[in-house]
């Protein structure tokens, strides 16, 4: 009992690489749930941004704990590409809204042929 509780306590007080990776995983799964379950196209884009942020956390965590600056450089690139993709996604969403007055993807399932 004693060793289990002290091990549990060290899990809480000694914050290491694993903690950041678990945080990143949790955030990634939340983003994944958002993409799967939400029907608003813009909220799906936001969930994708959430997933990219989770990946950024894991890059920086690895960069710090392996003493390597390449983690931060990768995050630079990921951030830029995510911002660019968000811009294009929103431009597309605005075009769709202008045409159909809807951004709910449920609506577009009925457009056939």
């Amino acid at each position: 009992m004693d060793s289990v509780s002290s091990e549990g306590l060290s899990l809480i007080t000694n914050v290491g690489l694993n903690h950041y990776l678990v945080l990143s995983t949790a955030l990634f799964c939340l983003g994944l749930i958002g993409v799967l379950l939400r029907r608003n196209a813009i909220v799906m884009l936001m969930s994708i941004e959430l997933m990219l942020n989770a990946v950024n956390i894991s890059f920086i965590a690895f960069g710090k704990y392996n003493n390597n600056i390449d983690g931060q450089i990768m995050v630079f690139f990921v951030m830029t590409i995510a911002a660019a993709e968000a811009a294009v996604g929103l431009a597309l969403a605005v075009s769709i809204f202008k045409r159909f007055k809807e951004v709910n993807i449920r609506f577009f399932e009925h457009l056939r042929g």
């Binding site: 678990v22 995983t25 749930i33 942020n53 956390i57 951030m79 431009a91 202008k98």
Partner: protein, 177 residues
């Protein structure tokens, strides 16, 4: 509990809470605002990981520009008649949740059982680079990764032109129904 550990747990809770709010509220504007809050929290996580410049860039680019764009577009749309915010069908919804949970479980299991990760102690590997870490970052970015950096610039140019071209379609966002 040291200050580092307390800070990590506090930021982890705020980040996860923000993430849950993003995917669970029905009103998309609240989702966008809570995503902005999550971005700020992630920037704070970067600060605890000693990546100060990247934290500042996260604040400027993500929380200060990208999310403002999201919120502005959502306010322009003015979606009063949300058909359905969430996917219909309880069974398929449950399967999706289960899949995401399975992926999360697999990843956490891989993290917990990988030998490398569990042996790195806190503070054993300080980022011991010569001089200012930000200077080092800039130096590496402009010497080793110069091609990718320039390619990124070209990508941004293409994106800007593309976004302008996409938004030239006729018709306004209101008053034509």
């Amino acid at each position: 509990m040291t200050a580092d550990a307390f800070l990590f747990w506090f930021l982890a809770i705020t980040t996860i809470a923000g993430g849950i709010t993003v995917v669970s509220v029905a009103n998309p504007i609240y989702a966008a605002l809570s995503l902005a809050f999550t971005m700020v929290s992630v920037a704070a996580v970067f600060v605890t990981l000693e990546a100060y410049f990247v934290a500042g860039v996260q604040l400027i680019v993500y929380a200060g520009a990208v999310m403002v764009l999201f919120v502005m577009v959502l306010m322009l749309f003015d979606l009063k008649h949300e058909l359905e915010a969430f996917a219909r069908g309880k069974v398929s919804g449950a399967i999706k949740l289960l899949t995401a949970g399975l992926l999360g479980g697999l990843l956490i299991g891989a993290i917990a059982y990988s030998p490398e990760g569990s042996k790195i102690a806190v503070g054993a590997n300080q980022v011991a680079v010569a001089g200012d870490p930000t200077k080092n970052l800039g130096y590496r970015l402009f010497t080793q990764h110069i091609f990718a950096f320039e390619a990124l610039g070209v990508l941004l140019l293409v994106i800007a032109v593309g976004a302008v071209a996409l938004s030239r379609s006729k018709g306004g966002t209101h008053g034509q129904r």
